[in-house]
Amino acid sequence: MENTKNGFNFIQWFRKMWTQHPLFSTACALLLMAVLQIIALGFDQATFGDWLSRYIRNWINILRNNATIGIIALGMTFVIITGGIDLAVGSTLVAIGAIIMLFIDSSATGLLTAIGITGIPAYIIGILMGLLAGLILGEFTGILITVGRIPPFIATLGMMKICRSVTQQCMQTVNPSVPMPFTKIANLAIGRQMFMPIIYWLVIAFIMYWVSKHTAFGRHVFAVGSNERASKLSGINVNRVKRAVYAIMGLLVGVASVLQVSRIGAMDFANAGSGYEMDAIAAVIVGGTSMAGGRGSIGGTVLGVLIIAVMNNLLNLIGVPPFLREAFKGVIVIGAVLLQKKEKN
């Protein structure tokens, strides 16, 4: 070939990336959608400044609305890398949400208000209680899976039913309200933009990335998922790794729950969070994590959340009816896995 010598060959580079990096195709799809999104947004503003601010506002909205799923998907990545799955996240989200609301409620029904604690101390206690509840629920799931030897699918399916149903029963007559200041956690406006949830998400994503790459625990997560037996025979406490993974999942659902309560200022215990488990799993899978365990990445999951979010936004912009949007989500999941290079035996 003639043009191989004159420096950078884009086609060759592209082909190499496409075949060697499983996530490259996903990143390309995201880029393509981002371009389509710009076109769909239109150029009917008076000045470039107006256009840019509209463009940025659109992006902040996308990210903000997906921060909850984004945070849950981070925990789900670890769970799936160990070869497990967590179907309970949507239900534990409402259970934790109910607990938080009971603590922060400033009306007479609030648990802390009754003993005279209100305002910021009450919010801090409420948040801590929510995180603790998440941790305990996650640890309990982990114990069911390791000590009880119940397959993750079944253990978390059970937890999903239990958490949602018990929460609904308990909250039938109680109707706690979320005080205004608490909503600032997610809705604090800085420079007229409310991007706090994005910050929380990215910070947690960074921590999770760091844990997955640079701690013994993180590497053990991959080892256990790839070859549980070899890991056990190497002296790794397999059960502890698995329990920790579900506990972290629970903790992150706690964080997501705080954000959800704060952002919306209320919670519909019957419907909130339903379908979150599947959205999170979809993002993880689109992000190149293997359902069989052992392979995956936090970066991929962030990419997976983004691609689904941007696609939703794009469909909204071009006026695809809401009922059809889920179908596109399905297409993305199947398409992404088809495009990602499959390992040959």
Binding site: T215, A216, H220, F222, A223, S226, A230, G235, N237, G294
Partner: protein, 493 residues
């Protein structure tokens, strides 16, 4: 039906595994096919079973030359290969297993259960088998499962049955049940090929024998004309070259067990190992040595009896405890138990010590890399980049990485189960040298192997196991391949 295989040769790459081997069998006789691991028995039987094809030689049945392209054609010619791992579906009934893939349907296309059960009963009656065709295969013991599998072959009109080490996982009663079934088959004119290492069983059931060694046919004749000692000698060969064995200065007893049993795989095991000593454990498949050490490492069945490490009584509940006591364990079956295929070379080589090498919350990557670099040099691991996948390495180098992960933890006791499994000849020698060097450094090394020459080559002392028990301890002059073979095959009892 008469089978004659003449001048069969087969090589894998440059490795000649069968060199002009001939083999014959008539209907109504049981012939023993004997030889050490790697002698070529499996290759020869795989050629007969249509699993692989030969490079040279002919197969004749009743004087007609035939060739098999696949196992199906071999089966159609009346040859049934009963593998060690039985091909039965546990959750189906016996008759369903017998008719799987060839079910009898009535004219509506619905399964004709009654016809199938009746046919099964007919076959069982003819063979004198007392089994309910509707019983679930799961409820059968190992001997009956074999009988069912052979019956399935009989229903497909098999006239020759190859049985690959059928008795290894059976109890005494089960063995006698299988033997009486084999005699029934024989009286029906079926020819049987019995592959076994257990020479006393061979003496009991077989009419003739054929011994292979290193791909050559060594001897063939009637069982009446030989005894077990003679057969053991033929399998090993008379001209065993006594290879130089390293002598190590051994120290105090660091690992010992007395009357250890799990009630399933091993019974009443007592042994002791000194620091700086290489001790072998050998026996045939199913002797329980792997299960024994898996339990002693805390990853197998729970055991009773007492175990001492450096004079202190210990009980291993999980591998972490064993690791903290300075025990390392390189398991058999590297692919399933040794390597983690999604982690890179460096991570595989530091899997054991990763949790101990920390800087605050994070991994001390520099220390981990230094550790691995050291082991890489010492074990002369040939590899590219340390972030390459572990699967990019050859078998020998993968095994060295598994060794490296243990050596970086500085074990005082190292258990090696089949350390040269799936490793080429050159790497084998290197691993023997590594074992010897480790002993020189004062590590107590325990080598588990079914290859007698490997034990002779590496160990200064060896325990021979049979059916979950230690039969004898060999040392000095007594530690040679023939003696090991005599005890391991049960010929000595």
């Amino acid at each position: 039906m008469n089978l004659r295989m003449t001048g069969i040769s087969k090589s894998f790459g440059a490795n000649l595994v069968l060199d002009k081997v001939s083999f014959s069998l008539s209907g109504g006789e049981i012939i023993a096919l004997l030889g050490e691991n790697g002698a070529g028995k499996s290759t020869l039987m795989n050629i007969l079973g249509g699993v692989i094809s030969s490079d040279e030689g002919t197969i004749e049945i009743d004087g007609k030359e035939i060739s098999f392209a696949n196992p199906r054609e071999s089966l159609d010619a009346g040859i049934a290969f009963i593998h060690q791992e039985l091909n039965l579906i546990n959750d189906l009934a016996i008759y369903e297993n017998l008719f799987i893939g060839r079910e009898i349907r009535n004219r509506w296309g619905v399964l004709d259960k009654k016809a199938m059960i009746d046919k099964t009963r007919e076959v069982f009656d003819g063979m004198g088998i007392d089994l309910d065709p509707e019983a679930m295969v799961r409820t059968l013991d190992a001997s009956y499962k074999q009988i069912v599998e052979i019956s399935r072959a009989m229903m497909m009109d098999a006239r020759i049955v190859i049985m690959d080490e059928p008795t290894t996982s059976l109890t005494e009663t089960e063995i006698s049940r299988v033997f009486s079934f084999m005699r029934t088959l024989k009286s029906h004119g079926v020819g049987l090929i019995f592959i076994s290492h257990k020479l006393n069983e061979v003496m009991e059931i077989c009419d003739r024998y054929t011994v292979l060694r290193d791909g050559h046919m060594i001897s063939s004749g009637t069982i009446d004309s030989v005894d077990t000692d003679a057969l053991a000698k033929m399998m090993v060969g008379h001209d065993v070259v006594e290879e130089k064995r390293a002598v190590h200065k051994s120290g105090d007893i660091v690992f010992s067990a007395s009357s250890v049993s799990d009630g399933k795989y091993f019974n009443d095991i007592s042994f002791s190992v000194r620091s700086g000593e290489v001790v072998g454990f050998t026996g045939l498949l199913g002797d329980g040595r792997s299960e024994l050490f898996l339990s002693l490492f805390g990853a197998g069945t729970p055991y009773s009896g007492s175990v001492e490490v450096s004079g202190k009584p210990v009980t291993m509940h999980n591998p972490q405890e064993a690791v903290s006591l300075g025990i390392g364990y390189v398991p058999r079956n590297r692919k399933e138990n040794g390597i983690v295929k999604d982690l890179d070379i460096l991570e595989n080589g530091s899997l054991v010590t990763m949790g101990m090498r920390k800087k605050g919350l994070f991994l001390d990557s520099k220390r981990i890399e230094e550790d691995f670099e050291k082991e890489k040099k010492e074990l002369s691991i040939k590899m590219g980049n340390e972030t390459d996948p572990i699967t990019s390495l050859s078998g020998g180098n993968q095994q060295k990485v598994v060794l490296a992960k243990w050596l970086s933890a500085d074990p005082r006791i190292l258990i090696l189960d089949n350390p040269t499994q799936g490793v080429d000849v050159g790497a084998k020698e290197e691993i023997y040298t590594i074992i010897s060097d480790l002993a020189d450094k004062g590590v107590a090394v325990i080598v588990l192997s079914s290859e007698a020459h490997e034990i002779v080559r590496t160990s200064s002392r060896c325990y021979v196991m049979y059916h979950g028990r230690i039969l004898t301890e060999l040392e000095g002059e007594g530690l040679n391949e023939q003696e090991i073979m005599r005890w391991a095959t049960g010929a000595a009892i």
